[in-house]
């Protein structure tokens, strides 16, 4: 088991956003957290990444306890983050953004090779390498955000609402990309509102409602479930 989250509690002041959540991700899997806006998906992702201090519970990654670590340490252990809404560094160039991705785990030469690899994966980025990241389109920025996260050679990729704000065609290719990433041996935990696409590529999915896991199962099971069909897949 790669990632294990037990009894996670995240609160902002008196508001409990995440209540006793248990989830896991195995090596080579894509797992999705499905749920509506405000269900707490982002909070879970942020807690795993160390960006918000959980009020309770544990996060273990390959046996290593993560929940007390600062984000840069979490990154060092092999987890990378694709934030909600892309969040590229708009005042840095595309190339600089990619280099930032490898900041924590640079290996000199390997970094350069890695950059080439990523740009092979995303040819548009290669074209625009000296452009300011802020001038890229939404889809391109998403590519950049993912590429940046991959630069650190992570074992687990955390994706927070990757399809948000993207055109349907782009969304499709985005989830295809997720499959490609899995094929390269990188596991993915993604928080998604777009249940249809997520279930298309995920191996396993959780259902999050008001901070609690209300269900979970393999993608097939979830797709077949009556409730999911009704609420999230449009019947």
């Amino acid at each position: 088991m790669l990632l294990q989250v037990s009894g996670l509690e995240v609160a902002y002041g008196p508001v409990r956003a995440v209540r006793g959540v248990d989830l896991e991700v195995h090596q080579g899997e894509i797992r999705a957290i499905l749920g509506a806006n405000g269900a707490g998906k982002s909070s879970i992702i942020r807690a795993i990444m160390g960006l918000v201090k959980p009020r309770g519970g544990t996060v273990a990654f390959g046996g290593q306890a993560l929940h007390k670590l600062l984000p840069h340490k979490v990154n060092e252990w092999g987890i990378a983050w694709v934030p909600e809404g892309r969040q590229v560094f708009s005042t840095l160039t595309v190339q600089e953004n990619l280099l930032m991705g490898a900041f924590g785990r640079r290996h000199g030469e390997t970094m350069h090779a890695r950059q080439e690899q990523i740009m092979d994966m995303f040819p548009t980025l290669r074209e625009r390498r000296t452009q300011m990241a802020g001038s890229l389109s939404g889809g391109e920025q998403q590519m950049l955000a993912i590429g940046r996260a991959l630069m650190s050679n992570p074992r687990l990729l955390l994706m927070d609402e990757p399809s948000l704000g993207l055109a349907p065609k782009v969304v499709r290719s985005l989830f295809d990309l997720a499959q490609e990433i899995r094929a390269r041996g990188i596991s993915i935990l993604m928080a998604e509102q777009n249940a249809r696409q997520a279930l298309r590529v995920a191996d396993f999915a959780y259902l999050l409602e008001v901070g609690e896991i209300r269900g979970g199962g393999s993608a097939r099971e979830m797709e077949a479930s009556e409730k999911i069909r009704r609420v999230y897949l449009g019947g």
Binding site: L70, P71, F89, F103, S152
Partner: protein
């Protein structure tokens, strides 16, 4: 015409120190969203360090050769920069780090408290009156086609210039400079990329403090005086430079600092020296009225 160019040159000399201190403010503000009110006092510390070192080691006097003079100047600079860098480190750890990220006034007031401590400590140690900081560089006036530049002015300008160029290089061409820019824009994302934000915070404040210290030495030697409250007005003007320039581009702050120096010199020379201090505020009002985000734009606050 000659007089105009003379004023221009005088203005650029002083303006370069405004720019250096303003850059320090700007750096800390854009990276950490903190207005470090103690920054001008760190500038003041630089000047006093120069005073202490020069008079303490009895190296004043200007009868030496140029090389020795310059070497001494550099030595004094080094000591001052180390001292202020250290002060900056302590300031960051004790005062800025606990208060950053909260309401914008909290670090403002906390650093205001520090500035009160520093000002009064200086008064206590050195008395409330300005002390004379003897120069170490042999006085020499160069004349370039009618325009007079003293050796100390030159030293000031060169110091400021080197610092500004070094900063620019750091920010744009080094790994940590890149990380600093990333943290300035999106600290969370930068942290998730492996950047130790606390370290960047320390680095930034230290760099800003080192710069302020160097500017303090330069100005102290230029005007041969150091006073406990020298940071107040100078700091305010530098702060205004930062506001007018916006914090999008480092070069903007540099340009505005120089601009302020020049306009002040021209106003002093041609209109009235009473109005010199009003220039900065007039500039601020004028610019903010038409372009609230500063001359060259700034990040979302």
């Amino acid at each position: 015409m000659e007089q105009f160019i003379q004023q221009l040159v005088n203005g650029i000399m002083v303006g370069s120190t405004y720019a250096v201190v303003a850059l320090g403010f700007g750096l800390v503000f854009s990276v950490m969203r903190v207005v470090n009110l103690a920054h001008p006092e760190i500038f003041m510390i630089g000047a006093y360090v120069a005073f202490v070192v020069i008079t303490g080691l009895h190296v004043q006097g200007q009868g030496r050769g140029v090389l020795v003079g310059v070497a001494l100047f550099l030595a004094v600079l080094l000591v001052a920069m180390l001292t202020t860098g250290l002060v900056g480190l302590v300031l960051e750890r004790l005062v800025i780090r606990p208060t950053r990220g909260t309401y914008i006034l909290t670090p403002f007031i906390a650093t205001a408290g520090v500035s009160i401590v520093l000002q009064n400590s200086a008064q206590r140690l050195f008395g409330p009156d300005p002390v004379r900081v003897p120069s170490v560089i042999p006085p020499h006036t160069f004349t370039f086609s009618g325009v007079r530049v003293t050796s100390m002015q030159l030293a000031t300008f060169l110091t400021a210039g080197v610092i500004m160029l070094a900063l620019r290089y750091y920010v744009h061409n080094t790994r940590w400079g890149r990380a600093t820019r990333a943290v300035a824009e999106k600290p969370d994302v930068a942290a998730a990329c492996g950047v130790n934000v606390n370290l960047v915070s320390q680095l930034t404040v230290s760099i800003a403090s080192i710069m302020a210290g160097a500017a303090g030495v330069a100005l102290g030697l230029l005007y041969t005086s150091a006073a406990p409250f020298m940071g107040l007005l100078f700091g305010l003007k530098s702060f205004i430079c930062m506001l007018v320039a916006g914090n999008r581009h480092i070069e903007a702050i540099m340009a505005v600092g120089l601009l302020l120096g020049v306009v002040e010199a021209i106003v002093t020379g041609y209109i009235s020296s009473n109005l010199r201090d009003a220039v900065a505020f007039a500039l601020l009002l004028a610019v903010l009225f038409f372009r609230p985000q500063g001359l060259f734009g700034s990040y979302e606050v």
